[in-house]
Amino acid sequence: MVIEAPEIARKRKAGQFIVLMIDDKGERIPLTIVDSDNEKGTLTIIFQIVGKTTAQMAQMEKDDFFLHVLGPLGHPTEINNFGTAVCIGGGVGIGVAYPIAAALKETGNKVISIIGSRTKDILILEDDMRKVSDQLLVATDDGSYGFHGFVSAVLQNVIDSGEKIDIVFAIGPVPMMKVIANLTKPYGIKTIVSLNPVMVDATGMCGACRVSVGDKTKFACVDGPEFDGHEVDFNLLINRLRMYCNQEKQAMEKYKCECHGK
């Protein structure tokens, strides 16, 4: 989805996010910025339908507008010439991995990208990722395209091939990031993950997004969203993401009923 927000487009850097609110009764949801176009003053975001708000967003048409767009929020990704960087994107996480891969490439890194999805049809940004990577590896869970299996197995192959990896960026579903972090830890490969916990204000005011990193409580909105994957307590994050499961279902049911009514 492309959103017109010129001031944010001008300011934003890789790794930062925005908060959207559709209407007066809507919730505030954080979404990472995938790309921006300074001349057109636009931002690109990629989302998956996971609840009522994203379902509603999927129904939006050209020239519709959000009541509120806030950003850019969070720390930008720390981009340096690390040497060889592996960028891993899973599902819609590829959208977040893309600007990081592009920035890493521009800074002179050798970029190896690994992207994966459940099946071929829902794989996104393959061409874009290829353009900003020295090597692109694809995996699908069902084997319909590329490697048959998870991105973590592809990473293991890269490590086993003797490639010297200086840093890994892993963005995707929490279980994926957890597996990647566990995989790289014994090799001592620095691994950065981007966390997307529940947020409300997203400016450091409420603490909804607290995560445990190296046994210290951090707010993902102002201290993150990127953290050292070897220090993150992923189980806590998984639990906290489930906090409103029932209400999310309830809101979705209500929305579906209202849609059918129309």
Binding site: I8, K11, K25, H68, L70, P72, G204, V222
Partner: protein, 474 residues
Amino acid sequence: MENKENTEKKEKVPRQPMPEQDPMKRIYNFNEVPYGYTAELSITEAKRCIQCKKPSCIAGCPVDVKIPEFIQQIADGDFIGAARTLKETNALPAICGRVCPQEDQCEKVCVLGKKGEPVAIGRLERFAADYERESGNILIPEVAPPSGKKIAVVGAGPAGLTVAGDLIKLGHEVTIFEALHKSGGVLIYGIPEFRLPKEIVDAEVEYIEKLGVKIITDAVIGRLKTVDDLFAEGFHAVFLGVGAGAPVFMNIPGENLSGIYSANEYLTRSNLMKAYRFPEYDTPIACGKNVAVIGGGNVAMDSVRTALRLGADNAYIIYRRSETELPARAEEIHHAKEEGVQFKLLHNPIEYIGDENGWVRQIKCIRMELGEPDDSGRRRPIPVKGSEFTIDVDTVVVAIGTEANPVIPKTTQGLEVNKWGYIMANGETGETSREGVYAGGDIVTGSATVILAMGAGRKAANAIDAYVRSNKKS
């Protein structure tokens, strides 16, 4: 002598009680608890004021409201006149009439209070302001000729709205930058509907806008643009009234379990996002049956009373000192007790225990006793060894204070902060270490009251006016 006779004669009329919603009904709704004085009650109460020749009440008010003057107008039945007198020095009277701690300010020094009960200044202020708003007869005061100076105000809370209201009347061009999607700051996200209806805040913000103030919401200064960017855009001065936005936790085991909120989050969900009307509104909130609120201030009372209205069977206040030290206003404690809040005093949480899904189920508490007075002058709470026990809960709200949000200090060059991260500012002028940058409210003092933030805003507005008029650079 004349005063004394008056006192004796007028003291026969008692302070008029505030009509209120029945406690057993109001715990099932979010409607405002006190109904407000009627015109009749207001006149009776206003006539209790003895119109001291040297009134001490004005000095008791952080924004110097002309108290005897507006009370006389009410006594004379000139309610609109009273509202306008209030607005000469206080841009937000309907709000102050509700949330000011009058018992520590104007009413504390009222002469009548020495022998009996002080004049109900706050209730009269509320009445006059409500009367004007409901009548629709709102006067937009004349604004001074344009000064050609542009001022940026960061934060649309009590301090920022006051600064903006004052400076626009002095002829300056004023733009407020607000991080949230709605203006009002703590008045919108923090104080619940049952204590301060949001339509009142909206009306007061609308009034500030009618004066000509431009408000830009969804603008996080420090991220979207910095203070330096604002100067580069042509603003001549910047006021920082961003509040003490970051929540404090106790850093005890289990504090990140699901179901444990900061008061900021709990109240923001309920008030700003209207989670109490879920699923009509999209934002959810945990509606616990056994809710514990940690802390004893006004924010703790707001949280625990919100929990009751969200359907809690047991709503506890857990506070480490005794009743005497509770920092909340007497009125809030009284209302909480009427509504059935259970006070666990001299108790302190030491650990949270969760279930297999990571949801909080129990608080492990320790009993406390009071020792010698500490730096704050209050007796220091000391844990009683071996007194640990558990309380069953499914929702916890931590309301033990806030600290400075570091976004602005970190992104503004030359802005000095103290060891707690609060911005260093002159108490009389709001001047900071950076020329042209002023600050006031909670980001300077730490968590305080709406009216103190407004008082700081008033002083800063005067200093900013003097600064931009004398400034040759433009």
